[in-house]
């Protein structure tokens, strides 16, 4: 209709006022400063004055070349600036790199890289609210709480390309980082203002894929502040553990209520140990008794009247009709006395065993007792009672299963805690170093 079309903004080149070298401008007039890589002068793009000329032992080559474009959040972004910044902790300097990304419609973003860990950073408009989380200093922004991780003074040590502010080498800012993995809320405070930004953790592989950089990204070392935990944000499963433990207890109760536990046989016997040390063990058989119901277990209990003796019962439960037998043995020993005015006891007079999966049928017990008295004592006739019960709860699983149930949540909790401990070692809150 009426408007004369405005000329389409083009990529320009600036002549360096210091050395005449060519400075590429990709920011369409929005950049406020640009670096002449030939003479390391920082030029104010509005007034064309030299803001600063800095020294560098060597030219640093950014991993993402300036002018390269990558796709983030569905938009294209071009790397137009690069800087190296460092903080000093104790006497060690930690250096990291930042890339200025530009899109003429969407503005600016930043990509930071430290030890192979990357962050996609966007400046935010607005003031987060100061709060606490778990007793620690924190900030709240858009319904998310970020815990304070580190405060440090950062200084710029090397620059290249263009910047939307008047950058200078040596400029410092107080940086506060707050984390809510995988995000990080950061503030930078200079004399004049505070700016806030939100970073999203990215792996080197993701950045390399976005920007189609050839080769491999630098390997990630250690754990970074807002690096998401590979052990997941979800719990270690303790709730489920309690549920299963409860189920096991209920099953134990149900077993003791529902299982028959019927007495199938009970009888008293006596055993007179034969004279002589190497005499043959004598065996007896009980009358036949009935074991009913489904195939299940049988408990055989031996109760004795031992008095300072050991006894060993070699036994077999034998099916009268099928000839199937179950061999087992039980050992008991009971001792007592008085020593120094105090009476003591040791051992037990009774023992039992649970025989598994015994089919129903007519059975008898075969028993071969042996008795050994303390040296110097004559062997005496002992009395013992045999009790047989059908279908009893077997308790061992109820002790083993909870321990087995514990294994996965314990391992998971250990891994999570171990990861978070290593994460926080990099923070301002780590204890004394090494």
């Amino acid at each position: 209709m009426s408007s004369q079309p405005k000329p389409t903004p083009k990529v320009q080149a600036l002549e360096c006022p210091n050395c005449g070298g060519s400075i590429q401008l990709r920011g369409f007039g929005k950049s406020l400063s640009a670096v002449c890589i030939q003479c390391l002068s920082i030029v104010d793009t509005q007034s064309l004055r030299v803001l600063q000329q800095f020294q560098a032992k060597e030219r640093v080559i950014p991993l993402i070349p300036l002018g390269k474009r990558g796709k983030l959040h569905g938009d294209q972004w071009e790397a137009i600036g690069f800087q190296c910044r460092e903080i000093e902790v104790d006497v060690t300097a930690y250096q990291w790199r930042e890339y200025v990304l530009f899109n003429p419609y969407k503005g600016y973003r930043y990509l930071t890289e430290y030890d192979g860990h990357w962050n996609d950073v966007k400046p935010i408009n607005g003031l987060p609210e100061s709060t606490t989380k778990g007793g620690k200093r924190a900030m709240k922004w858009l319904n998310e709480t970020y815990t304070h991780f580190q405060t440090a003074n950062a200084s710029t040590v090397y620059v290249m390309g263009e910047f939307p502010w008047q950058v200078t080498v040596g400029e410092t800012a107080q940086c506060d980082d707050y984390i809510s993995p995988p995000r990080m809320l950061s503030s930078e405070k200079t004399n004049n203002e505070i700016t806030w930004s939100i970073g999203d953790y990215m792996t080197g592989d993701q950045v390399w894929k976005s920007f189609e950089v050839p080769g491999a990204p630098p390997p990630a070392r250690g754990i970074y502040a807002n690096q998401p935990s590979p052990h997941g944000a979800k719990s270690a499963g303790w709730n489920l553990f309690w549920v299963f433990l409860g189920a096991t207890v209920l099953m134990m109760l149900a077993a003791s209520i529902l299982m028959g536990q019927k007495e199938a046989f009970r009888q008293d016997f006596t055993f007179a140990p034969p004279p002589g040390p190497q005499a043959e063990a004598q065996a007896i058989v009980t009358p036949v008794f009935e074991l009913t119901g489904r195939t299940t277990n049988v408990e055989v209990e031996v109760l004795t009247d031992l008095d300072n003796e050991w006894a060993y019962f070699n036994m077999a439960l034998i099916n009268e009709q099928t000839g199937q037998g179950f061999d087992f043995g039980r050992e008991v020993g009971y001792f007592h006395g008085i020593e120094g005015g105090e009476s003591w006891t040791e051992g037990k007079k009774a023992d039992s065993v649970v025989i598994p999966t015994v089919p129903s049928g007519r059975y008898y017990l075969l028993v071969q007792p042996e008795v050994e008295a303390k040296p110097g004592q004559p062997p005496r006739t002992i009395r013992y009672e045999l009790r047989v019960r059908r279908d009893v709860p077997y308790n061992l699983p109820f002790f083993i299963v909870p321990l087995l149930l514990l294994i996965p949540p314990v391992i998971k909790s250990f891994r999570k805690i171990s990861f978070e401990t290593r994460r926080w070692q990099e923070s301002s809150y780590a204890g004394s170093d090494d």
Binding site: S3, P7, T8, F28, L127
Partner: protein, 210 residues
């Protein structure tokens, strides 16, 4: 909406008033600032050629804010230490005028609020708390800016300024406001920061290589 057509009193070029709320416009051929008065149009001043700026927004860009469609009618261009910034005059379909502020790729939509008591300039500094229209704000920045020029249709008479002072206001709930102290009484604008994507802008500027 009816388009009012006339001719520039200075150079005769065709002039359009696309928006009924327009109180002033510019002639893009001779850069005269024109104000319609009763029966005819008066030339009240001239604006220098606006520098080639690089906002992605231009006149006739369209967008949507708060569910309502708007069109960009005009702008005021300022210059400050961090570069240029535009206040785009946007007009909604129902005729309401608003402002789309565009600075360092940060955007906000505000509307002029009249009738509020605005403290005098010397009383203002960062940290001062003010309340407008029931919302609490804190003064975050005091900016001295230079007026560069105007373009297109504006809802009030505004030209030939030199140095102005702007106050930025922010509230905890994400509301945003500005006070323009170049006028007497000062102008108050209240609104909020917006994301570029949420405005669903169409008919944007084109950039080489993008």
């Amino acid at each position: 909406m009816s388009i009012k057509r006339t001719n520039c009193p200075q150079c005769g070029a065709p002039i359009e008033f696309r928006f009924s709320s327009a109180v002033q416009t510019t002639c893009e051929f001779c850069n005269s600032i024109l104000v319609p008065r009763d029966l005819d149009i008066e030339k009240v001043g001239k604006v220098a050629d606006l520098p080639l700026d690089t906002s992605p927004i231009q006149l006739r860009t369209e967008g949507i804010y708060d569910g309502k469609a708007f069109s960009v009618a005009g702008r005021i261009l300022y210059q400050w230490e961090q570069g240029g910034w535009n206040e785009w005059h946007i007009v909604f379909q129902d005729g309401v005028s608003g402002w789309l502020s565009d600075a360092q790729a940060q955007y906000a939509v505000t509307f002029q609020k009249e009738g509020e008591r605005i403290p005098p300039r010397p009383d203002i500094e960062p940290g001062v708390r003010l309340t407008f229209d029931g919302v609490d704000y804190e003064v975050t920045t005091v900016t001295r800016a230079g007026y560069v020029g105007v373009e297109g249709e504006l809802p009030f008479e505004y030209w030939d300024k030199t140095v102005l002072t702007f106050i930025d206001l922010r509230s905890k709930g994400g509301r945003f406001g500005t006070i323009d102290y170049s006028e007497e009484p000062p102008l108050l604008f209240l609104g909020e920061g917006v994301e570029f994507d949420n405005l669903q802008l169409k008919n944007l500027r084109e950039f080489e290589g993008w």
